[in-house]
Symmetry: C2
Subunit: 429 residues, 2 copies
């Protein structure tokens, strides 16, 4: 049974904190395992990659079948249904149109002391994209990871994705083709992340690794961070729906289950100000779970990790939302724009009764790679900026240096760094 919390009960905050702090990932310490995997890849490259792949994906990986060829990709595309490819094109275009607006501007100016200042943005040379392929292969994730890199102007775009028994999802390959991916590798897990960071066999090292994966992939990204850049570390997915009683309970139930069906560790939360509406939603959820082809996963996410929170007034919702900092937040209320102004922490916000979260997963345009497990407190969804870096620019002539140099030398003296001071003063004579 799903947890029910009532915001006006005396122990609400204790129960609520216990609920949101629960470790849905199982909390097993996998850092040593992942360390071992990375060490193996660094030491033995291709042969280590092959032996992990044999073990986890059940096929014999070679330098030949590791790289998916363009012919294989074209062949795969022919196997896809036309309507799926059309939907993929529709989605890719919308994602591209949104992300193009994120391209940052360079800056250059001369200030009142005559100093030339500014910055310049550049794309990284090479990006590695991880697309999960375990419980489900997600072509949409390929688009959402690769298109921002393509928009940023990244030249080398290497996609890794696990291929159980060597099989690839044709629509994943079709998505890679549409998103400007330049290399596709039939390999997944922590070993794939290590190969992208350090190189292995034909895989050359990249500069940035992005994309969601399981707990091993997430830990591998954490461990290679510093050698390469990474996006956020992904945890299990989640949705928070704020809904008043004017919603159709069936709609809200479907929204809650759209995240619950991802994984047993997913989380769905309903906040409402109407206890009988909550009951109707709960009934609808249980009916829909029973009808789902993913019944077991969905039921476990709903019964073990989810909650219905009853508030006295919807004006209590923003404080609760900010403590959760949800990955996905639906505001299925009369005036979502007004509630929006009171909320600080969320990965993506879906406004109004006609914006189910699933449109954000596929076709709205914003990235569906979003900060999970409270990390929207500090992190953002994947963007073009994750594939770019900024260089600061500073230029002085003799006059400008005469204006700002003395203060620099004074501070260098105060910090006990004589060569810093000398490098300025020697030019002031």
């Amino acid at each position: 049974m799903v947890l029910r919390l009532d915001s006006h009960s005396a122990d609400f905050y204790m129960a609520f904190d216990q609920f949101i702090m629960k470790d849905r990932d199982g909390g097993a310490d996998i850092s040593a395992v992942v360390e071992g995997v990375i060490r193996e890849i660094r030491e033995n490259g291709m042969s280590a990659l092959a032996s992990f792949t044999q073990k986890f994906d059940g096929f014999m990986l070679t330098e030949q079948n590791l790289c998916v060829t363009n012919d294989e990709i074209d062949e795969a595309e022919k196997q896809c249904a036309k309507r799926d490819l059309e939907a993929l094109d529709f989605s890719a275009n919308r994602i591209r149109n949104y992300h193009v607006r994120q391209l940052p501007k360079d800056e250059r100016y001369t200030d009142d002391q005559g100093v030339t200042l500014g910055w310049r943005w550049n794309a990284v040379d090479a990006a590695g994209l991880y697309a999960p392929g375990g419980r489900a292969a997600y072509p949409s994730s390929v688009l959402m990871n690769a298109i921002p890199a393509q928009v940023a102007g990244v030249k080398r775009l290497a996609l890794v994705t696990p291929a159980p028994n060597g099989e690839m999802n044709p629509l994943v390959l079709a998505a890679a083709k549409r998103a400007g991916v330049t290399e596709v590798y039939r390999v997944g897990g922590a070993q794939a992340v290590a190969a992208l960071a350090y190189g292995a066999g034909p895989i050359l090292p990249v500069d940035v690794i992005v994309g969601p994966g399981n707990a091993y992939v997430a830990e591998a990204k954490r461990q290679v961070f510093g050698k390469v850049g990474i996006d956020s570390i992904a945890g299990p997915s989640e949705i928070l729906v704020v809904a008043d009683a004017k919603n159709d309970p069936d709609w809200i139930a479907a929204d809650l289950l759209s995240q619950a069906e991802h994984d047993p560790s997913s989380q769905s939360i309903l906040i409402t100000d109407d206890a009988s509406f909550a009951e109707e939603v709960e009934r609808a959820v249980n009916t829909q779970i029973n009808e789902s082809s993913r019944k077991e996963i969905t039921a476990s996410a709903w019964n073990d990790n989810s909650a219905i929170i009853i508030v006295q007034s919807l004006s209590d919702a923003p404080a609760i939302i900010d403590r959760i900092a949800p990955e996905h937040l639906e505001l299925a209320v009369e005036d979502p724009e007004s509630m929006l102004t009171k909320i600080r922490h969320a990965g993506a916000i879906f406004l109004g009764r006609y914006t189910p979260e699933a449109v954000g997963d596929y076709v709205a345009g914003p990235d569906h790679v979003l900060p999970t497990v409270h990390s929207a407190r500090y992190a953002s969804g994947l963007s073009v900026l994750d594939f770019m870096k900024r260089t600061s620019l500073i230029g002085c002539d003799a006059t400008a240096l005469a204006n700002i140099g003395p203060a620099a030398a004074t501070l260098a003296d105060a910090e006990g760094l004589p060569s810093h001071a000398k490098s300025v003063r020697i030019r002031l004579k």
Copy 2:
């Protein structure tokens, strides 16, 4: 003796790669040590903090002396020289003026399908700032870490900095006051990072931890990443100077040593197209090392980690620079703007003969927290964005959903996610 490499010798690229790949940090595996420190802080909070501080900083830390009071800060300020405080104010203003330009813009628009799209930026609630205090205490680092957070609009700004024998540098405290720091803690090392991430004694958890520190601090930041956000992981500092023979060798020598004097693991590299100029610079470097009050540190960084690279033509420099991706790059050449366009990877670029790197450390305005050890390939200097996060916004009405929903449902079907599809289709009837 400093390494000399000649770009037209046969083995240049081998020798060069060996040089740039050398691990200047010593490469000791400290991850287990740091894991232990973090575990201790999580389990024993304040008492663990006290015992690490006794061990490393040599004084008895209590809940009382952990927090530096406003009275202590005002008292410290009175001990500072007036010219130092003036230089600090000058620097703080210039840093603020530069960083204000980095404030990102929100976006909101309705697209051709009637979908409301956009994003909104928010500051994080609380940031933790690490300022090193070991070999030297750096008030400038306090400004460079805190001001971007202040400009971003962060409400809680907690500064941690080690206090050997309990003593704080007065100018560090004066800098904290100017930079909007709201809490100062007399504690450093991996234990301080753990306290900021998880809380300990009076220190409440923060959302983001930034700032450079030693290898233990860097590893602690890596390990708490995910619980909190972090900036790049800092390694030893470095400078690359490209100089033609028209420079004063003494000036260039001083620039090279301005980074060498930070730490024995620092690195200075000169690229020049004139071998006899290189010799003059080398002589000047050795003379200046002998005159320096930081002779030992400077000599070891220069002799053990640095290099002079002779190129046939300065047009060969950009390719070499990009392989190094230096933290600091000086272009002391006739036409720095033209060379600038050919370079992709550097943390900060200093243009022309009158822009010693040290102005960037103190007063130019851009942040001096910059990507080290080749990480400028993918990372940027600290900025206002490190203290903000972006929320995606999506809004559909019935018509917009009718336009974009069917493709979403098609892709959900293709990915085998029936509740995703249902949450869209249920609204299309």
